[in-house]
Amino acid sequence: MSTYYGIFGGRVNYVSSDPSNPITGQVWYNYTSAALKVRAVSTVGTVASGGNVNSARAHLSGAGTQTAAFIAGGDQPGGSGTQSITELYNGTSWTSNPTGLGTGKRFVVGTGTQTAGMAATGYNGSSYTATVETFNGTSWSPSPNMNNARSVGGMAGPNTATLYYGGEPGTTSLSEKYNGTSWTSTPQLNTGRYYMGGMGGAGSNTAALAYGGSTPPSTQTELWNGTSWTNNPTGLNTGGQQISGGGTQTSLVALGGDGRGSNIEIWNGTTWTSNPNSLSTGRRAAATSGFGNSSDSMTATGYNPSPSVTSATEEYTGPGVAQTKTVTVT
């Protein structure tokens, strides 16, 4: 009978805690948790709980990465009103930022990073706005307004090279590009939509993706090449709106969304593929426009079920990323 010692020429290490930087293939026995563990590469995307947000809400902005993100604005409890609350994520927990958005808004959309973020448009309680604020990791500052007041569009890119597309009122197809100084109108989407899935800071104002959206919940996917929008021949496998996710035009993950429940789909630049694993908590109207990229994205807070909001964060890790797994022995 083959043994571990016979194959590898060494015994399994007995340790009190998991090694801090295990290598792929490394095996150890954690006697504190009485578990045999291995560092292995997953072949499918998996999810894990992240820290709970302090102020659960929906229709808020959010961007950044799994280890450095922000959320800002959103609904008051009950699904109306506005708020300016900003929270910061460090990969483990959310912390309330001492200062919030300059103007409380719902249906606001975010992009960029935790230290160079942007929150654009939204509903301020009386009207849709074209206002934009930028975040430096500590406080929000007014930034040049967009040309068209609206909300819940898609957004892509850093806060100095940004694309904003679609939105409402109505189902607008308007697109605008920001160069760090001013917004310029660009060719419109082929199909006006709002509540599209977004890209977050990993996107670009020369290579963006518009997917899903309303109304009705759509599967449609369009690609922006810096000059024009092109319809992709195929769309999402499951149509939906208010989708979370993040990534680039050639590699992106879509998480949950209205009409999609806990579904996860992966975009490879050409087609969408359903991930075998799903979110543990289906949700919609979570923080948008997006976090991270296709290998490490997340979704935070949102409705589940309407009108209840969840405080849960779920972190997505794509296939091909090494993870520590517990080996079950019978």
Binding site: A48, S49, G79, S278, N304, P307, Q323, T326
Partner: protein, 105 residues
């Protein structure tokens, strides 16, 4: 009748509640009322329930918890005036009436 799923109640505390190892080993589905569904007769799922200090519930008990939350949400929705944007289809504020969730056995 054979049970495909088992249920427990536990409050998600955040990081570490569900790990990548957990979700790659078995499907975990959350429902209103902090009700969690995992496969029955699954060793890793049993370990997970114990690890999160989940309070095991029978299928009828879990269904009753979810029903209570949904009924309260429906009552809240029903109380919203008909002309409120939250009840007008096509308005971005529109939210559908919470639907009954039937937990599988």
């Amino acid at each position: 009748m054979a049970q495909n799923y088992q249920y427990c109640v536990a409050e998600c505390w955040g990081k570490g509640f569900i790990t990548h190892d957990d979700s790659s080993s078995f499907q975990i589905s959350g429902f209103p009322g902090n009700v969690w569904q995992v496969p029955a007769n699954n060793r890793k799922a049993n370990i997970w329930i114990n690890g999160i200090a989940g309070v095991r519930k029978t299928h009828p008990e879990a269904q009753a918890i979810v029903d209570g939350i949904i009924q309260a949400a429906q009552a809240e929705w029903d109380a919203i005036p008909a002309d409120d944007p939250r009840k007008i289809q096509g308005n971005p504020s529109y939210r559908p009436r919470p639907e009954v969730i039937v937990l599988p056995q």
